[in-house]
Symmetry: D2
Subunit: 310 residues, 4 copies
Amino acid sequence: MQLRTDLAIERFAALPHGEGVSRQDEQRGDIQVHRVQVHTQKAARELGKDKGRYVTLCDRRLALSDTELQVQQELSCTLAEEIRPLLPEEGCVLAVGLGNRHITADALGSWVIEKLLVTRQLQLQLEHDANLPFRSVCAIAPGVLGITGIETAEMVRGIVDRVRPSAVIAIDALAAREAKRICSTVQITDTGISPGSGVGNHRMGLSRETLGVPVIAVGVPMVVYASGIIRDALSLLVEEAQAGEYDAERAVEGMVERVTKDALGELVVTPREVDLLLGRVASVLALGLNMALQPSLQPEDILMLVNDHL
Amino acid sequence: MQLRTDLAIERFAALPHGEGVSRQDEQRGDIQVHRVQVHTQKAARELGKDKGRYVTLCDRRLALSDTELQVQQELSCTLAEEIRPLLPEEGCVLAVGLGNRHITADALGSWVIEKLLVTRQLQLQLEHDANLPFRSVCAIAPGVLGITGIETAEMVRGIVDRVRPSAVIAIDALAAREAKRICSTVQITDTGISPGSGVGNHRMGLSRETLGVPVIAVGVPMVVYASGIIRDALSLLVEEAQAGEYDAERAVEGMVERVTKDALGELVVTPREVDLLLGRVASVLALGLNMALQPSLQPEDILMLVNDHL
Amino acid sequence: MQLRTDLAIERFAALPHGEGVSRQDEQRGDIQVHRVQVHTQKAARELGKDKGRYVTLCDRRLALSDTELQVQQELSCTLAEEIRPLLPEEGCVLAVGLGNRHITADALGSWVIEKLLVTRQLQLQLEHDANLPFRSVCAIAPGVLGITGIETAEMVRGIVDRVRPSAVIAIDALAAREAKRICSTVQITDTGISPGSGVGNHRMGLSRETLGVPVIAVGVPMVVYASGIIRDALSLLVEEAQAGEYDAERAVEGMVERVTKDALGELVVTPREVDLLLGRVASVLALGLNMALQPSLQPEDILMLVNDHL
Amino acid sequence: MQLRTDLAIERFAALPHGEGVSRQDEQRGDIQVHRVQVHTQKAARELGKDKGRYVTLCDRRLALSDTELQVQQELSCTLAEEIRPLLPEEGCVLAVGLGNRHITADALGSWVIEKLLVTRQLQLQLEHDANLPFRSVCAIAPGVLGITGIETAEMVRGIVDRVRPSAVIAIDALAAREAKRICSTVQITDTGISPGSGVGNHRMGLSRETLGVPVIAVGVPMVVYASGIIRDALSLLVEEAQAGEYDAERAVEGMVERVTKDALGELVVTPREVDLLLGRVASVLALGLNMALQPSLQPEDILMLVNDHL
């Protein structure tokens, strides 16, 4: 059965509990924290997600407009606490904002990069070895193959070979199964970016295997696929109606086909005001990343330094 | 039964053929042209659309990327031929791009206005009465109440009172029922903009009654509502399964509710690359409007004059 | 003698002290506050500025990148204290961002409007008379004649007639004489916008006379004219060289002509990074205006409410 | 003597004709074509420009708004004819748009890249070796050190090592000495990008020496430095006034200092409507580059394919 989602937590929920996968849930105030670890190759194959660690933060306040500044900082803080242990203790970090910034559903990576505190140039611009209170951070938004003519993974590889960061953080827009996950969920994983994942369906992956350095992926679902949401509705109805020998699954496929046919491209479902939600989500993510990367700075200082470049 | 769509053609299809409404279809090459006229108040109430004329142009090529320039001009030309008869023979025309330009699904009006050929200032800048080969055209994008603090209809009214155009053309993003209509359909009507219509659910209407001049509305569906597309799928399944005494309608409502609950706002369904489709649709619409407003200019000249302002 | 500047303070400095004009200077920490009042029609003619009050705030920190958040709020606070006495005690205020947002040198008005707290819709959206702690504020950026085909003054007049604000605040980009004034000076006046003023050389003015309500103009110089800065240099050299019977003034004109000839349009002088300065200046201005308009809100709350709309 | 200009033609004019440099002028309709070749190391030192070939196209119509489409194509065609001989006969070409796109005076590179026809992905997306009528072209806009934390030259080097193009074309915004050159001049050179050149004063160069492949640089002056234009005016006056033993040069320096002091950063002189000129210049440059890179395509086809991605 086809389960199209980038969220480990949705895949895990869809399969019976098995060996090789462990899960741990936690409540931190209003934020739900779910940790999934895939231990074995076999479990990875069944789950459809690589071996490694996945942390999912769930909180509807992530993109709500009446979120007080204080709440936004609480969310960013929790995000920072989950990302920091995955980073090497020191060394330069390269942040990569994936996706096509001309497509709202795929623009999250670019938006977050815009608000990141970039510091690597300070080291380069000082003549002597200064002991700066900053971690060295650099950032790129490599676009997509259709716009640059260069595979994102090629471009990142070439820059990693020159810059030699100690780790890469990749930010990406995701697709989920359930509409309630859109803009209310953050997934953090040390498994990097898998081929085929993301709203953009990345052609090639970014991982320790391909880049030679740890890759931490951070993503937020911006859409669900219309086919998925329709299948869910139909499956519910079939259950309720106890359709008996009725070949429900085949009928379901036919219905999905009929209501989505002749549309111009893959249909996605998203909140009507997703463009506004995008901005708020990007701000919370960026602040959380900045807090993880610059533990010596206060949130207010980070906000001031970032706004200064806007 | 709730049928949420701004397209007269979809409302008409949903009701049994009755008195007070006439329909005429035509094929112009690859373009389907549907004309609906609502003659009586009674038919207007049943249809849920005001008395007047509705022309719908359907062509998948409207937003396809491999549309040759020649095809785009063919579409714009057909559009121009349908709009021109609805305009007064002479006199200034005010074009109004409705909607919130920060929300992709609602930005069509603003995008079209950006590519419109504006000429009214030429008359104002010449000292003597020149016999220009241009029609006087001016254009505004008044934004929305939540951004300006001013009702769109208030702003348009105030400007109409000063500028005294002979007609208003209002461009708007619409919602349809069927996904195949998205970015492949143009609706032109002399009934203006109804309260509650459009992706933005306009609070007040724009019509001859409220503005004192003819209002021609031009719109393209950019989204369908997720609830609508899910209901359609469920209804199909219910028909097929012949669920008997099963209270299908109530079950359907419950399913829609369950798969869309907890989402952040009204869910819409749209092609994933809608941002790219938006640009192409806006170009075709703008060229068609420019051709309708400036019959003495060649398409190549229009394109050159417009590009010059970009 | 041609003295092209929108700053009253520069015009005043260029003329001998005369009757009908009074001036008062004050130092508020690092901010210089200059007040000029033009009392008589005769003085207005000599000065080339309308009768009324002009307040000029000078502080290089207005646009410097290492300006701490605290300093920015100090500047905004001082700005608010000078604007507030010029506003009516209560009643709706319409903010108008003048200029062409596609031209950086003329975009200040639009940028400030984007960051203004707009509240008039709250009153419209509540069913009963609520006693809100907000002043009713609405905001528009009417563009320019060359883009809309409508005179800015026409558009503002039409909207003022419908909305009936108790005052109008017009924000505009100015031209100065001395380069040091660029992005370091704010001029506030109760005389409104004069015809011919601003980087855009407004064709028509906006004032109590033309709109029927008080018009407070707020502006910051973004450019100086190259011809002016060159004339100044030449005049200095002429003084130094004690050129005697040498017809210095005619020679000066000739030099200016020769070094600027054949350029594509009026040459302006501006800091190379003016686009970055523009953002900071717009932020400080917007915060100051918001503080003046919403005395019951704290700066932190204002910043949060405004960022929420971005 | 300090002569700040990126144009070889202005440096050449300022020095007496010497050995090791040859110059040839040509008139092609309304377009002036100047060719300068620097043959020896000694001449390179005196000229302040690297050994190699420089072609300068001069035509005021480059950015004028009433330039007919036909004229724009004539300019692009001439540009293409000068660039094509500098490119290898076959092999992939990497286009690099230099500069900071947030600063209008430095944004030309980014704007041109946006309008370039990118084709390398077509080869990558086809499974078998197809004989496409396209040259393989890819394009990046690497930003600047202050925004990414990565030296532009580092990033380009890393990408060149992965992609292995047969040549690089670098597009850059330049500074000139005379105001008449702004937006009316195109410089093409096979010497690449020199350290310190461009509006952005590049820290490191891009050349065959540093990248291992030929680098063709294409640039247009967007500004002149205010200090330069003022020095020119003063020098003219000094000549005229025959100031005798008057230490003119020292006085001139003093004047420049006095009229530009206290400004916020390096002052540049640019036409007031430079933002609009930028768009037109970028269009002409991009079309010329596309015509040079894709000799099998007609201009109309190029324009259609490019617009399709906008």
